[in-house]
Symmetry: C2
Subunit: 202 residues, 2 copies
DNA sequence: TAAGAAAAAGAACGACCGGTCGTAAATATT
DNA sequence: AATATTTACGACCGGTCGTTCTTTTTCTTA
């Protein structure tokens, strides 16, 4: 009963990695099967269509992101420390090259920017979740008094996310851009917080 | 002699638009030919291969960007005003929906983030040019005394670009994110400049 | 251990891909 | 007006795409 499950996750892990190289729509079943040493038709025993596999791949990438980025940050104490930890965990995800193409969602989101359909919709949902998480952490920091009461939550969330996205974009000069992304957010938060001692110096 | 030239630009204009929807590698010669009402083989009279057409498409997109974004900004007086005008021109390019998929280079850059080859190399070059332009305008502002002497040029260029990229990413909530991108850069520049009167209030 | 279900392989399909070829019209040059 | 050259076409190639169907292997369970 669990053999199928093992296969499925193995396939999806490879699919996530492959999608960051060839894109989520450029992901071909032949290539995927070959890389796994599996027959192409065997994949259809688990998903009825490519689109279903793409949707499952998105969920797998979401889990990976939750484990490697969100979970470590949530182990930090609430407030600006947790907020900055989330940003740093994200950057670490890039520098550690967990995925060959860098970031599954950045690649996929741009790829499907102008499209419609189930895949595009699901991607939007996940991106929305991410922004909501950022806003939640910011709101918590406000409630703790670590950020001033008038903080524009959405605006700050946008700025933090922007630094992360841009770090990913400049993949070929990754180290420099990750450093810039860290500095940008650190300064922004240190300038805004009521207690700069909560955050590292530069 | 100019009939061919007319055809070429017509093809490339369509190719630029199509590439923002399907991606630069997802751009298929059949679809391109069909949308133009032209035979696929006719395209090979102008470019020997798909890759050559892709490279020509990049140059065409670069021209479009130069006309619609860079040129208007350069009509503003040197310094922080020109710098902010460049950012605003970029955001206008997105809101006016000049291209269906939003931004040719953002889409393509992410698509080719993990790849090698002539197309990926050319894309990197153009992205590099863009960053250099940003840094040049910042440097000019420093020389004019509109930004303080110690300004970290690369860091500021990264932050401005990040806001633009992120605005593009959140395509489905475009208006809100463009506003956030404008606000982020405006505040950043107003905080840094020696003469806030040069910039609009929020 | 036999029966049944789940998992995987294999072969084949129609559609589309990038690309080539020979040819015919449109244009330029003489 | 005759000749080159550019521009474009239709037919076709080998290959890959996603998908389906049938068959075989593997595992689970009664």
């Amino acid at each position: 009963m669990l053999r199928g499950e093992r296969t499925r996750t193995a396939v999806l892990d490879t699919a996530v990695a492959l999608a960051t190289e060839a894109g989520l729509s450029g992901l071909s079943l032949s290539q995927l099967a070959e890389r796994l040493g599996v027959s192409k038709s065997g994949l259809f025993a688990h998903w009825k269509s490519k689109e279903e596999l793409q949707l499952a791949t998105i969920d797998q990438a979401r889990k990976l992101w939750a484990d490697r980025v969100v979970a470590p940050a949530l182990r930090q104490p609430r407030g600006v420390r947790r907020l900055f930890a989330l940003h740093e965990a994200r950057l670490a995800f890039y520098t550690e090259r967990v995925l060959p193409g860098g970031c599954f969602f950045a690649v996929a989101e741009f790829e499907y920017a102008g499209r419609t359909g189930a895949v595009a919709r699901r991607l939007s949902e996940v991106l929305g979740e991410w922004l909501i998480l950022l806003e939640r952490l910011i709101t918590e920091a406000v409630e703790l008094g670590e950020l001033p009461a008038g903080t524009e939550v959405g605006q700050l969330a946008f700025e933090i996310d922007a630094a992360g996205v841009a770090a990913m974009l400049h993949t070929r000069l990754l180290d420099a851009s990750v450093h810039a992304a860290r500095t940008a957010v650190l300064r922004r938060l240190r300038a805004a917080t009521t207690d700069p001692n909560l955050l590292p110096e530069e």
